[in-house]
């Protein structure tokens, strides 16, 4: 004699092995069908857990834990596409380069980037940041000048604060004209750590 509850308790348990293989299969099928609009993974680094997200075009978002990864994913769903899956394979290359960077074996990143989350003057500012070489810094004023708007110093600050690709697009190398470090999307401590890492290379 059974009751309904016993009957469905008798169905096989759904453990991590089952979930894992079904998820992997979905990721592969989605990728093959061109439906994996945003793939993401996390990576452990000396500045904490970073969220990495990529479209088919390239890396679209790097986020510090302090930005709240769940919230960042919700915003990616709104701003890019809700077709988002945890799919580490697309981010293997980026993750490797970030590991090498933190191990001081890499000074530039050469993964494809998707800058769709940045618009207008902010995007112009970000496009100039890679001109500040590894181990160097530039002032907000100098970046404003390089971006063609010498008076837009505050706008450079907000462009850096809203950089969707911190670490990779080096907004941490932008400091205040008086030599103090200034703000950072990942927190001042992370900015200190990145500048120290680069200066001792």
């Amino acid at each position: 004699m059974i009751n309904e509850r016993d009957l469905f308790a008798a169905l096989p348990a759904i453990d991590e092995a089952v979930n894992g293989r079904l998820h992997q299969r979905l990721v592969e099928a989605a990728n093959a069908a061109g439906l994996l609009d945003v793939a993401y993974r996390t990576i452990e680094t000396p500045v904490g857990t970073l969220l990495l997200a990529a479209t088919a075009k390239g890396l679209v978002r790097v986020a510090y834990a302090s930005e709240d990864h769940d919230l960042v994913l919700e915003r990616l769903a709104r701003d890019v596409s809700p077709r988002i899956l945890r799919a580490p394979a697309r981010l293997d290359g980026v993750a490797r380069e970030i590991d090498e960077y933190f191990a001081r074996r890499r000074s530039t990143f050469d993964v494809p980037l998707d800058l769709q989350l940045s618009h207008g003057f902010r995007r112009t500012v970000l496009s100039h940041l890679p001109e500040i070489g590894y181990g160097k810094t530039a002032s907000y004023a100098a970046v404003a000048k390089a971006a063609g708007h010498p008076k837009a110093v505050r706008a450079v600050g907000s462009a850096c604060a809203s950089n969707p690709l911190p670490v990779i697009v080096p907004c941490h190398r932008v400091v205040r004209s008086d030599g103090t470090i200034g703000q950072y999307v990942g927190g001042v401590e992370a900015k200190h750590m990145l500048l120290a890492l680069e200066s001792t290379a």
Partner: protein, 167 residues
């Protein structure tokens, strides 16, 4: 105070998989058995991923997924019966990926002997918790017919399956 909510935009699909994946798999298992359940699950979630950006705000996501799973299961059952007609023999397919693992002896055999409508009705009602009216909208027929199908199916299972021992 700022809230985390960003309005009516959709959750990342990853959250949909995590939240509803297990229920949909249980439904696929109860309707299709060990051999085809994981294939049907995969097809369901791929189809859902494709359609997801067009899903109306405030939709019942679980009911939407079960409706897709229902259709994918029917596709499998049709393909299986075509195979049976074509080869005139029971296909002896080995379980892939250990999908037969963990099945209690006799459970699928007992479920498989039920008429399909009964299997569907008990899966959607007892696994998903769907009301019979909603079930009737998915499987066709009336609310009463869905309720009767579930009751008849459970009555049969009480005779044909007892937990932990084969018939």
């Amino acid at each position: 105070m700022a809230t985390k909510s960003i309005g009516v935009s959709q959750q990342p699909f990853e959250e949909i998989v995590a939240e509803h994946g297990p229920t949909v798999l249980r439904v696929c298992r109860a309707v299709l058995g060990p051999m085809d359940a994981e294939d049907a699950w995969s097809e369901t979630f791929l189809a859902a991923l494709r359609a997801y950006p067009r899903l109306r705000a405030n939709s019942n996501i679980e009911a939407w997924l079960v409706t897709i799973a229902h259709r994918k299961a029917l596709d499998h059952l049709r393909a299986t019966s075509r195979r049976l007609v074509a080869t005139d023999e029971v296909p002896e397919r080995p379980a892939k990926d250990g999908s037969r693992e963990g099945w209690e002896s006799g459970l699928w055999e007992a479920l498989e002997d039920l008429p399909l409508k009964q299997r569907q009705a008990i899966a959607y009602h007892y696994i998903v918790g769907m009301p019979y009216l909603q079930i009737s909208e998915i499987v066709g027929g009336s609310e009463d017919a869905a309720r009767r199908a579930a009751a008849d199916g459970i009555a049969t299972l009480r005779k044909t399956f007892s937990k932990g021992e084969a018939r």
